[in-house]
């Protein structure tokens, strides 16, 4: 599970749809790996306006990364600053949660992550 995906996933439990507390999910006992992937600059620029920076800062801190700047970079900044682009690429695309859990702060549901795959199957009474 890439940090990128975590920035877009919400709790799947029906009762959580009406709660703002169900996003982002919080990693617990996370084992991380770093992949080595080619930078896709165009994709990052396309995605940047959609990234929830507050949630990303929370995730980064919870995963033990140094604090992110309080404001998201602008598209122009990212375009002209190779290092910023690399850093963002490293966090969003190359950092993966291999084992652990993702926890909803609203209902407490824990989604297990195994071999990088998060299990979002729910018992039918929660759907």
């Amino acid at each position: 599970m890439k940090v990128l995906s975590l920035n877009f996933l919400t709790c799947a439990v029906k009762a959580c749809k009406s709660s703002s507390n169900s996003y982002p999910l919080h990693p617990k006992d996370a084992e991380l790996v770093q992949d080595d992937l080619e930078v896709n600059a165009q994709l990052l620029l396309n995605l940047l306006p959609r990234i929830d920076w507050t949630a990303l800062s929370t995730t980064a801190t919870e995963l033990g990364f140094p604090a992110l700047p309080p404001q998201a970079p602008s598209v122009e900044e990212l375009q002209s600053d190779e290092k910023k682009l690399r850093d963002l690429h490293n966090l969003l695309m190359e950092t993966q949660i291999m084992e652990g859990k993702l926890v909803c702060a609203n209902c407490g549901h824990e989604y297990a992550v195994r071999e990088g795959i998060a299990n979002f199957l729910l018992p039918s009474h929660l759907v």
Binding site: T10, S20, L43, N46, L47, I117, F120, L121, S124, V127
Partner: protein, 280 residues
């Protein structure tokens, strides 16, 4: 040919041996690849995009998204959802680049509003039509899937779902569920009337100011052979089918609309829309 969809659930049918057999068959690889390319053509993405692969399986469709050259608008980044752990296992062994979720699309699409530029689904959604236990109906699963998919796409986004309908009735059931969720929908059939017919459901999320008619289904499939444009978004306004303003049905409909826009709405309960008495 018999249809496993009619008798088994997907996670049972796609067990370890079936998943391996499926993925290593060069005949299947070729068919899935050509349908994926066709779907990409219909999505018409001009730059690297964030894509949901619905029923991604072992990644035969997804890996084409990752390897698309810049001249063709790629490479894209994708997230795949699949209900079969065995299929996902094969995807892991094949080292696909997409991020994988073990999830049942009939339970919804757990991403925040406006996440994806586009969605693709190759040979998967007909599975939603069989529900084998009593607490789930195909209609309910289809509606949860399409409502969730609609919300997870950005305004102006598109989804293309190639699927194998069992019959016309199933084709209609799936298409109308998509339209009810708010999509503009068109059906495209390649090689119609043959045993190799391929059915593509092309879906658009309206809204957003798009150049020309690029954002609407009529623009995507207009002029293509064998395309039926289905759009009931404008029905239901007048006449018999109208829902009375202020009624419970009306409130539920409004809530669904708000939810699709990603707004947070209170869960519907037996109190929803009940008259409140004036207290003296």
């Amino acid at each position: 040919m018999s249809r496993p969809e009619d008798t088994l659930s997907a996670d049972v049918h796609y067990n370890d041996s079936e998943a391996r057999k499926y993925t290593t068959s060069s005949r299947i690889q070729n068919i899935q690849a050509s349908m994926t390319h066709r779907a990409l053509e219909l999505l018409d993405l001009s730059s690297p995009s964030f894509i949901l692969d619905v029923g991604c399986g072992s990644g035969l469709s997804g890996e084409i998204l990752s390897s698309l050259p810049p001249e063709e608008g790629g490479p894209h980044v994708w997230v795949g959802m699949d209900v079969s752990a065995s299929m996902l296992d094969v995807a892991l062994q094949r080292d696909v680049e997409g991020d994988l979720l073990l999830a049942d699309i009939g339970q919804g699409v757990p991403f925040r509003a406006g996440t994806f530029d586009a969605a693709i689904s190759i040979s998967a959604i007909q599975w939603l039509c069989n529900a084998e236990s009593s607490d789930v109906s195909p209609a309910g699963r289809l509606s949860r899937f399409f409502n969730g998919l609609y919300a997870s796409l950005k305004r102006g986004g598109r989804a293309v779902c190639q699927f194998y309908p069992k019959n016309d009735e199933q084709k209609k059931m799936i298409t109308s569920a998509a339209v009810r969720a708010g999509f503009g929908a068109g059906l495209l059939e390649d090689d119609p009337e043959t045993k190799n017919v391929k059915v593509y459901l092309v879906l658009t999320v309206g809204g957003g100011n798009l150049e020309g008619n690029g954002g609407d289904i009529t623009g995507v499939v207009k002029g293509m052979d064998g395309v039926d444009v289905l759009d009931s978004r404008h029905s239901n306004r007048n006449g018999k089918g109208e829902i009375k303003k202020g009624s419970k049905a009306w409130i539920i409909k409004k809530k669904e609309q708000m939810e699709r826009k990603g707004k947070i709405v209170k869960a519907t309960s037996k109190y929803t829309g009940r008259k409140r008495r004036v207290a003296f």
